[in-house]
Structures are given as structure tokens and as C-alpha cells.
């Protein structure tokens, strides 16, 4: 819901991270259920990839901030229709 409601790009990013964490938790839970370590390894990969994604994302947001002095996503409407 956070992704849908917030207008601040950084907060949206945080909400996406929350989604990923939910997945991580679920994976770990399933992993114990099946007694299978594959899922735990998967979790590590998700963490790594999420970290990479966040670093890129923050860079993009900083770039944007320099241009428009705001992180409000609703300002982004030059491309439309």
C-alpha cells in the first residue's frame, strides 16, 4: 500500500524494500517447513540484488533532485499522453 499512497520517491523505495523483506521472511519460513536450504540461499541473493537496486535507485533519485529540487513523484509529468 505504501507504494501506492506515498508521493515521496524515497519512501516508495523503502516500501518496495519492505515488500522484498516480506518475501524473504516467507522464504525462510518455507525453508524450515521443507527442511531445504535452497530458499535460504535465495534470500541471500535477494538481499544482494536489493542492495544493488537500491544503490542505483538512490543515485537516480539524487540526479532527479538536483534537477527539480524535489523528490515528489507527481512532479514527474513531462512525459505523458
Amino acid at each position: 500500500m505504501g507504494v501506492l499512497m506515498r508521493r515521496n520517491a524515497i519512501v516508495i523505495l523503502m516500501c518496495v524494500e519492505l515488500m522484498l523483506n516480506a518475501v524473504n521472511l516467507l522464504l525462510v519460513a518455507f525453508s524450515t517447513l521443507y527442511g531445504d536450504s535452497d530458499a535460504q540461499i535465495f534470500v541471500f541473493f535477494i538481499m544482494v540484488v536489493a542492495a544493488a537496486e537500491v544503490s542505483i535507485g538512490l543515485a537516480i533519485i539524487v540526479l532527479m533532485y538536483r534537477k527539480v529540487q524535489s523528490v515528489d513523484i507527481n512532479i514527474l509529468n513531462r512525459l505523458k499522453n
Binding site: 501506492l4 513523484i73 514527474l76 509529468n77 513531462r78 505523458k80 499522453n81
Partner: protein
């Protein structure tokens, strides 16, 4: 030679490449090279034709290479050589060659000379592909190629905006037809898993596609395709507009070849149409309506090419009537004769337009008889042929169509009467055109008058050749009554459609005397049409329609007035009605309306994309939820 059939389409393709790539360097030579390419294919076609007409010839599929082979889909790049395709090869390359030659004279000095011939050759190539293809896919490639070339050639003089609009209209109408073709193809494939004509024919007569509803659906889809290409109601409005292109193009594409593609396709797919009576009746009715409506419109046109264009639509209607009653050979016969006389008429009109410095309004012409003797006499032959005066070619083919209509089912006689009316109108509008253009006084002013001249030999030679063909072409199909078993064309084509013929009644049911009577009726109808036209237009005055009633009385033709009230006015009204309501409002309106609707929807949908990520995410989630609901409903 038959194994070398691939040479036939290859020559125009090479011609296209040479004329297209070297159009700057070649100059006028491009025209000669293009013509030579078509001549070469014509020679090969003649050789093939002789082999095909040998006794006991069976159709051959010439396999070039495996085109597509995936899963169940197995399509070979094959050419089918049989009586039907070899006949069409002759028409296309033969008339195509004459028109190429004529074009060299006609297009002299045009900026796009090389480009024009490149397009023309590409057109011939596509048409040959269409005719030769041994399955629906190859045929469809040609089918689309032909439409594309027509688009390019109609819009050839694109600096005039209306011309490019006409080109687009032609393309859209053709595309609507193509949709039908495509869907028909998918339907067949879904049912039997093949698109090869030979296999399909065998399967069809074994009754594999026998469900009547399904078969009718297929036949209907293909007929929509034919309607688009062969300009039948309601997809016919593009053809008159297509007259925007250079006149030889109108002769080649919009009279002799491309528009007959629909007829060819239905004849080729006779194994589908013969089984569906509903579809056949539908074709018959569409053909009849088209023949009548466009004939009435033709009466009132003042543009020489428009008259011919509507006349083409009307004649195509006649051909479809023949198909509708299952008389495939008759339809092909009319295609053949029509190709002769209509190409002749169009080239004749081109010659007139050339002399008139591109003026197409017949009200400004008149008295051209003395100035352009060759054009005049050949044009007269064309008019007589199309009106159906014996022994010119049009008489034989039209008479055969009428005969077939007459014996068709319960309502055959009604169809016959309506067909006769269309024939009457044909004679009337053609001779109206003839009288106004060639007889009387010249009305175009002195400046134009000094300009008038007979066209160069390059243009008149094709006219003469075509005139001879138009005059004599009818003897390919002499009716049974005159001489037994003399209908050469019928005998020639029989192997192709043998199996379908068994399903249809033949002309032999009619007694000889009845046949003679019908011929007499047909001829007298044609003569009445000509006389009516003579009465109204012998002394045509362009200003008359506006004001010149007093002058009209001085002419002592008192009966002219009565005449006008009795015949001319109702004809004119009918014509105006047909043009205004059926063509402009009904069909154009419908097509434009759909276009408007699409644009409207597009405009509204565009606004959803408002640039805000928040909205996008929201809409995306909304879509996801809907998908979930649908999925759960369908599974639960």
C-alpha cells in the same frame, strides 16, 4: 518449359530491380527495360500455354523450395500450372506488355518515369505470384503485393492531396477485404491443417469440410476478400477514386488485372464455394446489386475516367453474378473479354486525355472523331463490345452470363430481367460517353482545339492490337447453339473445375429456340440503349443542363423534351440518388465513421497516460486485481 515456370515472375522482378535502382541513370531506357522484362515473361507464358493446351494435360505443381516447415504447418513455395493459371498468365503478361509500351509514350517527360516503371513491374510480379501460387499463402503474398502496388501507383502524383487520399482509401478498403481473406485462411487451416489447393480440393470433395455452417463461414470470409479487391458493394468506392493514378495504371490495374483477382480466387477455390449455396446466393445478390447501382451512377459522371471506372465496377458485378450461379468458366470468359475491351477503352481515354492536355471533363470535349481517327475507331469498337453487339466479344460473354442466370433456380428469371436492365444501362452510358466525346462540336475552346492531335504510334499501336482482340475475343467461346462443342474456353478450363461442374446445371437444358430468343432480346436491349443515348446526346450541349432551354426548342427536336422526361430525367435521378445516398453517405460514411470512432477512442485512452507514476501504479494494481478476480471466477 513448365519446370521453368519461375522464369515468368522472375523477369518482372529483375525489371523492377533494374528500373528501380537505376532510375536516375537509365532515363527513358527504364521504360524499355521494363517492357522487355514483361515481354520475356509473355513469351515464356505462351510457351507454357502451348504445353498446357496439349491433349490430356494434368495440372502440375512446380516445387521451388520448402517455404515453411514448423509443427503442423507445412507450406511449400510451389507454383501451380494448369489451364486456369496459364490463361491468366497470358492475360497479365500480354495486356501488361501492351500497357507498358503505351506507357512509354504516355509518361514521357514525367519526373517519376523510372519509378513508375519500377512500380509497374513490381505489380506484374505480384500479380503473377497471386495467379501462380499453389496454396493460399503464396496467393496471399501476391494479393497483398498487388494492393500495395496499387496504393503506390494511385498516389503516384502525390503532390495533389486528393490523390494521396484516394490512395489511402484504396488501401484501407483493400485491407478490409484482406482481413476476410486472412480469417478465411485461418478457418481452413484450423479445420484441415493445410492450405494447398490440390489437397484441399481432394479433401473437400471427400466431404471433410462438410459442415455447412463452417463452410459457409469460410466462403463468406473469402468473398469479403474478393469484394475488397474486386470492388463490390460495399467496398467499391475506392475504385472510382483510384482513377487518380496515371491512365495506363487504371487500364492495367483497375480494369484488366488486379480487380479480377477476386474472380480468380473464387474460381480457384471453387471447391469451397460450390458447396455453400448460401454463399453463392449472397455472391449473386451482391453482384447484381453492384452491377445495377454502379451502372446508374455511371450515367451521370462527366469525368471520362470515372464513367469507365463505374462501368468496370458494374462489369465486375456481372462476373460475380456468373460466379454466384456456379458458372466459373463463364466468369473467366467475361474476365477475358472485359480485359480486352476495358483496357482498350481506358487506353483510348488516355489517348483522349493526352490530346486534351490532361483535361478529363467530357463536357469540354466533342467532335474528336475527325481529329483522332484511330482513337475514335478503336474506342467505338470498345463501346460496341461492352454494349454487347454481336459479333464483338462482349456479346458472347455477357450473353452466356444471362443464359446462366435465366436457368438458375426459381428466381432465375427475375435475376435475368434485372441483369438485362443493367445491360441496358451499360449500353446507354457507354454511348452517352461516346457521343459526347467524339461527335458534335468541340467545346473546349480555341486554345485546346489547336492543340488536338492524334497520339504517337507508341500509344496507338496497343490500341489497335487491343481493338482486334476486343472484336475477335468472343470467338473463344462460341455458344453451343451456333456450333456443337465449339466453346473452346469452356473445354479448355473444364479439367480445373470438373468436379464442381458436376454439381451445377448446364446451359444445355435450354432449347435452341429459347436461346435464340434470348440472344435477340439481349441484342435489342443493347440497341435500345444505344438509341436512347443517341436521342439524348446526339446534339449534346454542355450548357443545356444549366440554362439553354430556349436554344433547345430552336433545335426542332420537340420529342427530345418528352424524351428527356421519359428516360433521361429518371435515369439522372436514379443516378444521383445512387451516388449521393449509397456511395457517399452509406459507404463512405460508414468507413469514415469507424475511423472517427478509432480516433475518438485513441484520444480518450491517451489521456489515461497522464505522466504520473502514482496513477500508473494504481492502474496497474487495479488491473492485477481484475486479473485475479477473473482467474478465480474462471477456476472456481
Amino acid at each position: 518449359m513448365i519446370q521453368n515456370i519461375w522464369l515468368v515472375p522472375l523477369f518482372p522482378l529483375i525489371g523492377f530491380l533494374i528500373a528501380g535502382l537505376g532510375r536516375k541513370q537509365l532515363g527513358n531506357a527504364a521504360g524499355w527495360i521494363a517492357s522487355a522484362a514483361v515481354l520475356a515473361s509473355f513469351i515464356v507464358s505462351v510457351m507454357i500455354f502451348f504445353e498446357v493446351s496439349a491433349e490430356g494435360f494434368k495440372s502440375i505443381d512446380v516445387h521451388l523450395y520448402d517455404f515453411i516447415k514448423v509443427g503442423k504447418l507445412d507450406i511449400a513455395f510451389e507454383f501451380r500450372v494448369d489451364q486456369l493459371s496459364s490463361l491468366f498468365l497470358l492475360i497479365i503478361t500480354g495486356i501488361g506488355f501492351l500497357i507498358h509500351i503505351y506507357s512509354i509514350g504516355y509518361m514521357k517527360g514525367d519526373v517519376g518515369f523510372g519509378k513508375y516503371f519500377a512500380f509497374l513491374n513490381l505489380f506484374i510480379f505480384s500479380m503473377l505470384l497471386l495467379v501462380l501460387g499453389s496454396n493460399f499463402i503464396i496467393m496471399f503474398i501476391g494479393w497483398e503485393g498487388v494492393g500495395l502496388c496499387s496504393y503506390l501507383l494511385i498516389g503516384f502524383w502525390y503532390h495533389k492531396k486528393e490523390y494521396s487520399v484516394a490512395a489511402r482509401k484504396a488501401f484501407v478498403m483493400n485491407r478490409i477485404g484482406d482481413l476476410g481473406f486472412l480469417i478465411g485462411m485461418f478457418l481452413i487451416f484450423a479445420k484441415v491443417g493445410t492450405l494447398d489447393f490440390q489437397t484441399l480440393e481432394t479433401l473437400s470433395f471427400k466431404g471433410v469440410i462438410a459442415e455447412p455452417g463452417y463452410l459457409t463461414a469460410i466462403a463468406f470470409c473469402f468473398f469479403v476478400g474478393a469484394m475488397g479487391k474486386s470492388a463490390q458493394i460495399p467496398l467499391f468506392t475506392w475504385l472510382p477514386d483510384a482513377m487518380a493514378g496515371p491512365t495506363p495504371v487504371s487500364a492495367l490495374i483497375h480494369a484488366a488485372t488486379m480487380v479480377t483477382a477476386g474472380i480468380y480466387m473464387i474460381t480457384r477455390a471453387h471447391f469451397i464455394f460450390s458447396f455453400s449455396e448460401t454463399a453463392q446466393t449472397f455472391i449473386l445478390i451482391i453482384g447484381l446489386t453492384t452491377a445495377l447501382v454502379s451502372a446508374t451512377i455511371a450515367i451521370r459522371q462527366n469525368d471520362i475516367k470515372k464513367v469507365l471506372a463505374y462501368s468496370t465496377v458494374s462489369q465486375l458485378g456481372f462476373m460475380f453474378m456468373a460466379l454466384g450461379v456456379g458458372a466459373y468458366t463463364t466468369a473467366v470468359f467475361h474476365v477475358l473479354t472485359h480485359a480486352f475491351f476495358k483496357a482498350l477503352l481506358f487506353l483510348g481515354s488516355g489517348s483522349v486525355i493526352h490530346a486534351m492536355s490532361n483535361e478529363q471533363d467530357i463536357r469540354l470535349m466533342g467532335g474528336l472523331k475527325s481529329k483522332m481517327p484511330i482513337t475514335h475507331s478503336t474506342f467505338l469498337i470498345g463501346c460496341l463490345a461492352i454494349a454487347g453487339i454481336p459479333p464483338l466479344s462482349g456479346f458472347f460473354s455477357k450473353d452466356e452470363i444471362m443464359m446462366n442466370l435465366f436457368i438458375h433456380g426459381t428466381y432465375g428469371k427475375v435475376f435475368w430481367v434485372l441483369g438485362m436492365i443493367a445491360a441496358l444501362l451499360t449500353a446507354y452510358y457507354m454511348f452517352r460517353l461516346y457521343f459526347i466525346t467524339f461527335l458534335g462540336e468541340f467545346r473546349g475552346g480555341d486554345k485546346l482545339k489547336s492543340h488536338l492531335h492524334e497520339s504517337p504510334a507508341l500509344m496507338t499501336m496497343p490500341l489497335i492490337v487491343l481493338a482486334i482482340l476486343a472484336a475477335a475475343g468472343g470467338f473463344l467461346g462460341i455458344p453451343e447453339v451456333f456450333a456443337h462443342d465449339a466453346h473452346w474456353l469452356h473445354n479448355f478450363l473444364t479439367p480445373v473445375i470438373e468436379k464442381s461442374l458436376a454439381l451445377e446445371p448446364t446451359i444445355h437444358h435450354l432449347s435452341h429456340s429459347a436461346e435464340y430468343i434470348m440472344m435477340a432480346v439481349a441484342v435489342s436491349v443493347a440497341i435500345i440503349g444505344i438509341l436512347l443515348a443517341w436521342g439524348s446526346y446526339k446534339k449534346f450541349d454542355a450548357k443545356k443542363e444549366n440554362k439553354g432551354i430556349e436554344k433547345f426548342f430552336e433545335d426542332k427536336w420537340h420529342w427530345d423534351e418528352a424524351y428527356e422526361n421519359a428516360f433521361q430525367k429518371p435515369f439522372m435521378k436514379m443516378s444521383a440518388f445512387a451516388e449521393k445516398n449509397i456511395e457517399r453517405k452509406g459507404i463512405d460514411g460508414g468507413v469514415n465513421g469507424i475511423g472517427k470512432l478509432v480516433e475518438f477512442a485513441s484520444d480518450k485512452l491517451r489521456l489515461l497516460q497522464n505522466g504520473s507514476v502514482g496513477v500508473y501504479l494504481f492502474l496497474m494494481v487495479l488491473g492485477m486485481i481484475l486479473l485475479f478476480i477473473i482467474q478465480l471466477l474462471s477456476n472456481g
